[in-house]
């Protein structure tokens, strides 16, 4: 090994890196014969020792506790903000869905009024009065449902109502003040919308 080749391996020798035993032996043999390279190896070895001492001294250094506490607080704030944002969007989505249902209902009722009603054309009226709807039990015995919750207040009694079953995110229940398991927020829940003769949603109940 010559001085140039030694220079290529001197850091590996001083850092005790995994180099081939033959190369290590050749490097040490060269250092034993060459004063300049011996000095170079000695200074590199001294540097490695100083670095090891610095590493040992730094081993106990870590971030002050307040930083961790602040970060956890930041995480919690982000979660609350994200949930708030999601609820806002959900409220808008529900409002949009209700508006769409109202529009569809209004169009359907308009058609019903215009078309002459006859048993032959297959139109079956299943609408119950509001009182009947409000006391009506579940169609399926396995279903558990909440009471109807009014969506809008209208003092005018409903002349003709109909019931529309829809699916909506479970989180929608929180809008009406119902308790929801946080883990199931993103699941869907069935709901019955009580529509008046104009297709306007008067009340909603959730079905399990």
């Amino acid at each position: 090994m010559n001085c140039t080749e030694f220079e290529n391996v001197v850091v590996a020798l001083a850092r005790n890196e995994g180099i081939a035993r033959v190369v290590r032996r050749a490097g040490l043999t060269h250092a034993a014969r060459c004063v300049r390279c011996a000095r170079r190896l000695a200074s590199e070895t001294m540097l490695s020792a100083a670095i090891a001492a610095a590493v040992a001294e730094d081993a106990t250094k870590e971030t002050p506790l307040r930083v961790g506490t602040m970060l956890v607080e930041a995480l919690r704030e982000r979660k609350v903000a994200a949930r708030r944002l999601r609820r806002t969007w959900l409220r808008r989505a529900i409002a949009g869905a209700i508006a769409a249902v109202m529009l569809i209902g209004a169009v359907a009722l308009g058609r019903k009024v215009l078309e002459p009603r006859s048993p032959e054309n297959g139109v079956v009226t299943t609408a119950l009065s509001l009182e009947e709807q409000l006391v009506a039990g579940p169609e399926n015995a396995d279903e558990v449902m909440t009471d109807f919750i009014p969506v809008i207040y209208d003092p005018v009694p409903i002349a003709m109502s109909s019931l529309l079953r829809v699916e909506m995110p479970r989180e929608a229940m929180t809008v009406f003040g119902l308790p929801v398991n946080e883990d199931r927020m993103d699941d869907f829940v069935q709901a019955d919308l009580l529509l008046d003769e104009y297709g306007q949603t008067r009340a909603v109940r959730f079905v399990e």
Partner: protein
């Protein structure tokens, strides 16, 4: 929390990104010290190191999706963020100085100073470490990063290359050059009488 201790860093990072406080806390406990030390060794300022560590983990909270497991470990990813933040902060405040070194020197009690010869040996060792730290802080940026990651943090060349965003060969050559400069400065100090003991 106990179940999380067995999870790998990348899994903790994913869970933390989806809002798991426990996963974030576990990842923070595992990695904060290394990030803090890296920033401290790069800047010499404990204040800056604290701020950088905080910002690194805030970045993780904000966007953990930028981590790509195929490009390296989570540790390299965190060092990469820390590195950019250190340079940004140091560029903003040019007046950085090694506070840690000053704090260590001032922390010695009179009792410790009279307990020879152990103190003499400690002082010599402390002086060596101080000289090393000053020499590292005086290195050009690229060389300093290589020494801090490969020597002080004992990272592999591949992981260091990943954190620095360069080739393994570049890390190797920077480390070689950096060590030669450090060795020169350490040898020069050894030959001249210590100002500290004078």
């Amino acid at each position: 929390m106990k179940a999380l201790t067995n999870l790998a860093d990348d899994e903790l990072l994913r869970l933390a990104g989806s809002g798991s406080e426990e996963a974030f806390t576990m990842l923070y406990q595992r990695r904060q010290a290394a990030v803090y030390r890296f920033a401290l060794q790069m800047s010499g300022s404990s204040f800056l190191a604290e701020e950088v560590t905080q910002d690194v983990f805030m970045t993780v909270l904000g966007d953990s999706t930028s981590y790509d497991a195929s490009r390296g470990t989570v540790a390299s990813y965190l060092y990469g963020i820390a590195r950019r933040l250190v340079w940004r902060r140091m560029a903003q405040s040019r007046s950085h100085f090694p506070l840690a070194v000053v704090e260590e020197a001032a922390s010695r009690t009179p009792e410790q100073l009279v307990a020879f010869p152990q103190v003499e040996r400690d002082l010599a060792r402390d002086e060596t470490i101080r000289t090393l730290r000053r020499a590292i802080l005086a290195l050009p940026a690229g060389y300093r990063e290589a020494v801090v990651l490969c020597d002080l943090h004992e990272m592999s060349y591949a992981d260091a290359a990943n954190a620095l965003g360069c080739a393994v060969g570049t890390v190797r050559s920077r480390l070689h050059r950096a060590r030669a400069l450090l060795a020169e400065r350490m040898a020069a100090r050894a030959e001249s009488p210590s100002r500290c003991l004078a």
